[in-house]
Symmetry: C2
Subunit: 427 residues, 2 copies
C-alpha cells in the first residue's frame, strides 16, 4: 500500500496541460479521499525549450526519451496524451510491460487496438483506464461500467463529436454555411487543422465502438458501422427538417435488435422532444434506452482541456483507490457477449428525402401517381418552392429505400436521404 | 469469497416488486459480471395472503417477523423498501448490527438519520448503499462518489421530485389548474394520497440534503434549507414567465459561495436554454457546475418501479463486487468538509415579481416614480392586462428584496415573488 504514486506524462499538449492544472487544483482532495499523494514527476516532450516555464512552475522534470519514464522504477502511472496510433501504442505497450498503470484519452487507439492493450494490462496486473476517450468530461464509461451494469441496455445514441455539433449549431442558429462553420470551429480550437475524422464521422465512429463495448459487450470494428459525415449536408434540408419538428444532428447509435447489433454514425433527424435534440454547440450527450431505467441521458462538454483532464483524473483516482484496496485493477469494461451483427436486410428505418423535381407537366403526373401508389410507405409529403419534394418514409428496409429511390428517379433527382431517429408524427 | 449471496427484502410494494422483477431479468448478467449469484430468499410483508402468488412465482419465502431475516445467518444483504422513518430505521439498524449489508431507497431516512446509520455500518464493516434514494433511476450518487470526485463542484441544481415536475408540465402544456394536475399525478401513482411532502418541497429538500453531502461533503439538516413548494404557484405567473423566456420548475440547489454553502428548494424561473428547463413530466435532472467539467447534467426517470429498482440493483452489484475484492465496503460517500453555511445576508438572487396594481391615478404616478427611482435594481418591467405589473429584480439581497417589496406595497399588492436561476436578459 503506497501513500505516494508518481506519474509520468507523455505529451504536453492541450489535454495534458489541463491535467497538470487539474492535478494542482485537486491534489489535496485526492489525497484526502484516497490516502494517496499523486506526484507528477516527469513529462515526455519533443522539445524541452518550449515547456520550461510550465515545468518550473509545477516542479516536474521534462524528458525526451520514453525510457526515462518507462524504465524509471519510481514511476507508478503513465498518462498517454500524445494521440493517434503511432507512437502512442508502442509507448503504452512499453509502459504496461514495465508494470505501470496507464491512463489515456486516445479514442483512435482504444477503438482500433483496445483489446490487445487491455489484454497486456491484464497480463501485467496493472490498471488501464480511458474515461476521457469518449465524450470528454462526461463520466459515461464509468457510469456504464458500474451503474448501468445493473440494467439491460437496448440502445445507446450519442452526440459524441463536439466539432460537428458546434458546426451544425452555428449552421442552424446563424444560417452559417458549412465552410464558414468549419473555419470557426477551427479558429476556436475544436476542429483540428485536418478535420477529416470529425466531419466524416470517423471520430464519432471510434467513440461508438467504445460505447458499444461498454453497453453491449460487443467488439465492433470500424467496418461494422455504416458511417456518414456532414460534408454533404444541405442547409435547406436542415431548415425543412426544422419546419417538420426535427433537429439535424450527427448521431452515433449502437442498438440491439432481435437480429443482432447494428451500429451507425450519420446526420439524422431527431424529433425536437428527443433529449439529444437540445444538445448544442460543442457539447456532447449520450442517450441510453434500457429495460430498467428506461430513457436517460448524460450531458456535458465533449472536449476541452479541463473537462477532458477531469476524466483523466477520475481514472487516476480509480487507480489510487485500487492501490489502497484489493489491488485487482480490474479491466475498465468487463462486459463481453457473443452477439451477432444484425444482417443489413433486417434493419428498418424512417427516412427523410428531398427531391429536386423535373419541371414538366408529365413529371407532375408522375409525382401524383407515385404519392398515391406508395402511400403505405410515405408518412408525409410536401412540395416546397414549387420544385422541392420533401418525403418522410416510414419503416423501410435498405432494399425498400432503394426501391423508393428508383421510383422517385422517374420524376426528379434525389438530393438528400437522411435517417429519422425516433417516431414520425404523421400529422 | 462467497459465490452466493442471499437477500432479505423488507416490504413488497411498488419498488420492491420492481426489484423482484429486475433481479429475475438480470440474475445471469450479475453472476457473469461479479461472480456472485444473488438469491432473493425471504421477503418481509405485513400480510402474507396478498403476496403468495408472487412468492411462488419467484421462489422466495414470505415472513412477517423481522428477526426471521436479521437473525438468519444465511442472509447476507437486506434491502429496505418500506419507506418513512419508523419502523424502517430500527429495521435497518437491526440488520446492520447483525452484520448484514443494507441497501435502501429511503430518502427521508438518509436525509434525517443518514450519519448515524452510516456510522453503524462502518462499525460493523458492512456495506450501506442508497443510490435509489435520489432521482430514482438516475445514477447520480455513484457518479458523484466516483467520477465527480476528480472535480471541484461549485453548485448542484436538481429537478428531483417527479410528482411536482409532472404537475408543472401539465399546468403549462395543458393549461391544467393545480388541483386537476395533482389529481392526475395521484391517479397515475406519481403522487401519494398525502402529497404534502411532494408539493411542499420537503421530498426535494431531503434529496438535496443527500446531494449536498455527496457534492460538498457538507451535512445539512432540513432547517438549513430555505424551502418553498408549488401550492401557491399561479398559472398566470407561469405564462408571464414563459413570455419572458423562462420555464417555471421546482428546483433544489446547493451551492458554494465565498461565504459558504447555501441551499434551497423552490419554484424558480429557469432560462429556456438552461438544461433543466427541458426536463418534462415525471423526469428528473441533476445539473452540476464544476471547475473541471464545467456544466453537465444527468437526466432520467425520477421514480417508478423499474428505474428505482435498477438503482437498488446497482448497489447490490457494488456489494457483490466488494465481496470478491477488498471486502472493505467503503461508505458510499467519503467526502467530508467543514464548510460554514453562507449567512443569509450574503446571498443575492434575481427575482420575478408580479404585482396587482391599485387602480387610481395617484397609484399610476407612484408606479412611474418607483420604476424611475429604482432602475438600478429593476432589470425589466412591464404591465400586463392594465393592472398586473411584472418586475425582474437584479442581484438583490434578501434585505434589498424586502425593501423593494415595501416600495411596491405603496401602489399595489405583491402576488408572487419567484427566484430567477441563471442570468437575466435585459432586453
Ligand atoms: N482536445 C480535446 O478536447 C480532447 C478531448 C478528448 C480526447 N482527446 C484526446 O487526447 C489526446 C491528446 O489530445 P490533445 O488535444 O491534447 O492533442 P495536442 O494538443 O495535439 O497534444 C499532443 C501533444 O503531444 C505531443 N507529441 C506528439 N508526438 C510526441 C512524442 N513522440 N513524444 C512526446 N510528445 C509528443 C505534441 O507535441 P507537438 O505539438 O510539438 O507536436 C503535442 O504537444 C488525443 O488522443 C485526443 O484524441 C482530446
Ligand atoms: N415509488 C417510487 O418511485 C420511489 C422512487 C424512489 C424512492 N422510493 C422510495 O422507496 C421506498 C418504497 O417506496 P414504494 O413506492 O415502493 O412504497 P410502497 O409501494 O408504499 O411500498 C411500501 C411497502 O412496505 C409495506 N410495509 C409497510 N410497513 C411494513 C412493515 N412494518 N413490514 C413489512 N412491510 C411493510 C407496505 O405494505 P402495505 O401496502 O400493506 O402497507 C408496502 O407494500 C420508499 O422509501 C420511497 O421513498 C420510491
Amino acid at each position: 500500500m503506497k501513500t505516494e504514486m508518481n506519474i509520468g506524462l507523455l505529451g504536453l499538449g492541450v489535454v495534458a496541460t489541463g491535467v497538470v492544472e487539474m492535478l494542482a487544483i485537486q491534489k489535496h482532495k485526492i489525497e484526502k479521499q484516497t490516502g494517496v499523494t499523486l506526484n507528477l514527476s516527469k513529462v515526455l516532450v519533443l522539445d524541452k525549450a518550449e515547456k520550461q516555464a510550465l515545468a518550473a512552475e509545477h516542479g516536474f522534470e521534462l524528458v525526451t526519451e520514453l525510457k526515462e519514464i518507462t524504465e524509471d522504477p519510481t514511476i507508478d502511472i503513465v498518462i498517454e496524451l500524445i494521440g493517434r496510433i503511432s507512437p502512442a501504442k508502442d509507448y503504452i505497450l512499453a509502459a504496461l510491460r514495465h508494470k505501470k498503470h496507464v491512463v489515456t484519452a486516445n479514442k483512435d487507439l482504444i477503438a482500433q487496438h483496445g483489446e490487445e492493450l487491455i489484454q497486456v494490462a491484464k497480463d501485467h496486473h496493472v490498471g488501464f483506464y480511458y474515461e476521457a476517450s469518449v465524450a470528454g468530461g462526461i463520466p459515461i464509461l464509468r457510469s456504464l461500467a458500474t451503474s448501468y451494469m445493473a440494467d439491460h441496455i437496448t440502445s445507446i445514441q450519442g452526440i459524441v463529436n463536439g466539432t460537428t455539433n458546434y458546426m451544425l449549431t452555428k449552421m442552424v442558429e446563424e444560417k452559417m454555411d458549412y465552410a464558414t462553420a468549419l473555419a470557426k470551429a477551427q479558429a476556436l480550437g475544436f476542429a483540428e487543422s485536418d478535420p477529416t475524422n470529425d466531419v466524416d464521422g470517423i471520430d464519432a465512429a471510434y467513440k461508438m465502438i467504445i460505447l458499444g463495448a461498454f453497453a453491449f459487450g460487443k467488439s465492433l470494428t470500424i467496418n461494422d458501422l455504416s458511417i456518414e459525415g456532414i460534408r454533404r449536408l444541405d442547409l435547406a434540408d436542415i431548415f425543412s427538417a426544422q419546419s417538420l419538428g426535427y433537429e439535424v444532428k450527427l448521431v452515433g447509435e449502437v442498438k440491439q435488435t432481435s437480429a443482432g447489433i447494428s451500429a451507425s454514425v450519420g446526420p439524422v433527424l431527431l424529433p425536437k422532444e428527443h433529449p439529444l435534440a437540445t444538445v448544442k454547440n460543442e457539447n456532447n450527450g449520450v442517450y441510453i434506452e434500457s429495460r430498467g431505467i428506461g430513457k436517460s441521458m448524460l450531458y456535458g462538454p465533449g472536449a476541452g482541456a479541463l473537462p477532458t483532464a477531469t476524466s483523466v483524473l477520475a481514472d487516476l483516482i480509480e487507480i489510487a483507490k485500487q492501490s489502497q484496496g484489493a489491488q485487482l485493477y480490474p479491466p475498465f469494461n468487463e462486459l463481453k457477449e457473443e452477439l451477432p451483427l444484425a444482417p443489413k436486410e433486417t434493419i428498418v428505418n424512417h427516412y427523410y428525402l428531398s427531391v429536386h423535381l423535373a419541371e414538366t407537366m408529365a413529371s407532375q403526373d408522375k409525382v401524383n401517381a407515385y404519392l398515391d401508389d406508395q402511400k403505405q410507405a410515405i408518412a408525409f409529403s410536401k412540395i416546397e418552392e414549387t420544385d422541392r419534394l420533401i418525403l418522410l418514409l416510414k419503416t423501410v428496409t435498405e432494399e425498400q429505400l432503394q426501391e423508393q429511390l428508383s421510383f422517385v428517379a422517374q420524376f426528379g433527382e434525389v438530393q438528400s436521404v437522411l435517417r429519422i431517429m425516433g417516431e414520425i408524427d404523421e400529422n
